[in-house]
Symmetry: C2
Subunit: 306 residues, 2 copies
DNA sequence: GTTCCGCATGAATCGATAG
DNA sequence: ACTATCGATTCATGCGGAA
């Protein structure tokens, strides 16, 4: 399966045509928002957003397993003093094309962009929209249970970057906390409100979501060995979460620099993963070879094959 | 102005026809959700929700001042494993009829309805959708400022649950804290995510939202002396907030029992309001007389006229 | 090693100005 | 009139250097 554990350079609409039907367990992504990130992505006009998105969504539908889930992180801009309707139009159009609008999680961003205006406050939340192909899909609720009181308390989001980096490599560590702290404590299911700060100090990518965000959804909607796709991979956060949790990953980005950045981060994670070093030595000959397919330009991730 | 400070019994679509154009500063309401509360309201089918709502919304538009605001508390149900689209359709239809979809606040309900399902978590948030007639509207941001973050994060997080519960019931306390404690501290503007427990220790009525919720919006979108309308008044919470903050109120409900309950609560509030008792004694003869108008059945609220 | 404080940094939005 | 660019506004966070 030459598409696994790779970061592809290209438009996801084209790249995904090289993937078989029903091959992905979870799609987690945050596409460029309308009018944003013009430098790297060119910017999509709000009025054209749905037309831009839907051909890609059709490919997502095709490659997603019937039991799989698509989680879309997005938020509508204010245009002429109003919230623009492209996000809700997108939901309606997705349904027309066969998707089920199963749920809408709310991401509460504690540190939103500052500013003051006479007609509105700062925007502190984004949508995490869950789409499915079927009413029955895989959901592993036990994998994201939390100790009583920790959920929504903000404590989970207060870990420093160094803490998180250190714990990143620990498979199954959840939000970066040592699981041993939880032993003996009462565990409860979380709810559909997610409290997390954005990463504001990332120097190389201007719009990263925090690692705990994809981590949570990867654990909730996939099992070890499953495949996670992010068609707008950016700095690679979704793939890092997948790799750290023992899932296969597929990442795509139109920006070559982001592809390199993602691969760098993934190599970093691998180097820190316990057990990988040994396997690497054992199978040192077995290096993944990059192969071109269509406009897609897969590059080697260096991940050791199983 | 015989419609001020009254709770009317009847369908708001009919009752509002007795009100003049451009007479209301703020409409805050939580209409019966689709298929909910069938006993008291008869229940509206999700597919018919928009058709049911729009004639009423047209009346809201007429009676609202051009500088006024309409805040709608609503959340879509899950139907057949999907979120139903009636809220989205409602937003689109409102825009077709001239409303501006200015903003969508998020109400994070800290204690949501319990339950467990295989395909979704508990629903901990609701929408507070802000509509306006014009791009320029009255907004009094200073009235709802909150203490600056890091001071609050240290101190607020350490308050006990009882502290928070007690303070939330205090009228005028905004987000449940006594602002006076923070004099001299730096204050910042809030954002569009509102954290509030659902309610409430009150045994006598089952309000759908807690008093601090309308309180916050009444302070944000009206001034003392302005008029606040809730066309689905329920247990009277919006009117209680308005009265307590020195605003005029208009409440409407199809359920006679709720009209009585609202009036009872309002009389209660009045009795506790400083200064009112004296005025009552002075103008004891001047009792508001109920008058019938159309299907509307205004009843006396007992409020002393100015 | 800790803790504390200063500082740069954002998936923003509006209104004014310029073509 | 309609679009493009620019400055002003504002605050939670994590980093680095200092005590």
């Amino acid at each position: 399966m030459e598409y696994l554990d790779r970061i592809f350079h290209g438009d996801c609409e084209d790249v995904l045509k090289g993937l078989p039907d029903d091959s992905i367990d979870l799609i987690f992504t945050s596409p460029p928002y309308a009018d944003q990130r013009q430098r790297t992505y060119g910017g999509i006009k709000p009025d054209q957003y749905v037309d831009w998105f839907m051909p890609k969504a059709d490919q997502f539908f095709r490659v997603l397993k019937p039991s799989g889930t698509f989680v879309l992180n997005i938020k509508e801009r204010a245009v002429n003093g109003e919230r623009h309707i492209y996000v809700i139009e997108l939901i309606l159009e997705m349904r027309r094309r066969g998707w089920l609008w199963t749920e809408e999680f709310m991401w509460h961003k504690k540190n939103s962009y500052p500013g003051k205006w006479p007609n509105r406050f700062r925007d502190n939340w984004e949508r995490l929209i869950q789409f499915n192909k079927r009413r029955k899909f895989n959901m592993y609720q036990e994998a994201v249970m939390v100790p009583v009181g920790d959920w929504a308390s903000g404590r989970l989001a207060n870990l420093s970057e160094t803490d998180r980096t250190r714990d990143e490599s620990r498979v199954g560590s959840g939000f970066g906390k040592n699981i041993s702290n939880w032993v003996g404590r009462d565990m409860v299911y979380p709810n559909n409100v997610i409290h997390m700060a954005t990463e504001s100090s990332n120097k190389r990518h201007s719009a990263v979501f925090p690692l705990p965000l994809p981590t949570w959804f990867v654990k909730l909607f996939s099992q070890p060995g499953d495949t996670v796709l992010d068609p707008f991979i950016g700095s690679g956060t979704t793939a890092v979460a997948a790799l750290s949790l023992g899932r296969r990953y597929v990442g795509i980005d139109t920006n070559k620099e982001y592809v390199r950045l993602s691969e760098e981060r993934l190599a970093d994670v691998q180097a820190r993963m316990p057990g990988i070093a040994e396997r690497k030595a054992k199978y040192s000959e077995e290096v993944v070879q990059g192969e071109s397919g269509g406009t897609a330009q897969p590059s080697r991730s260096g991940r050791v094959r199983e």
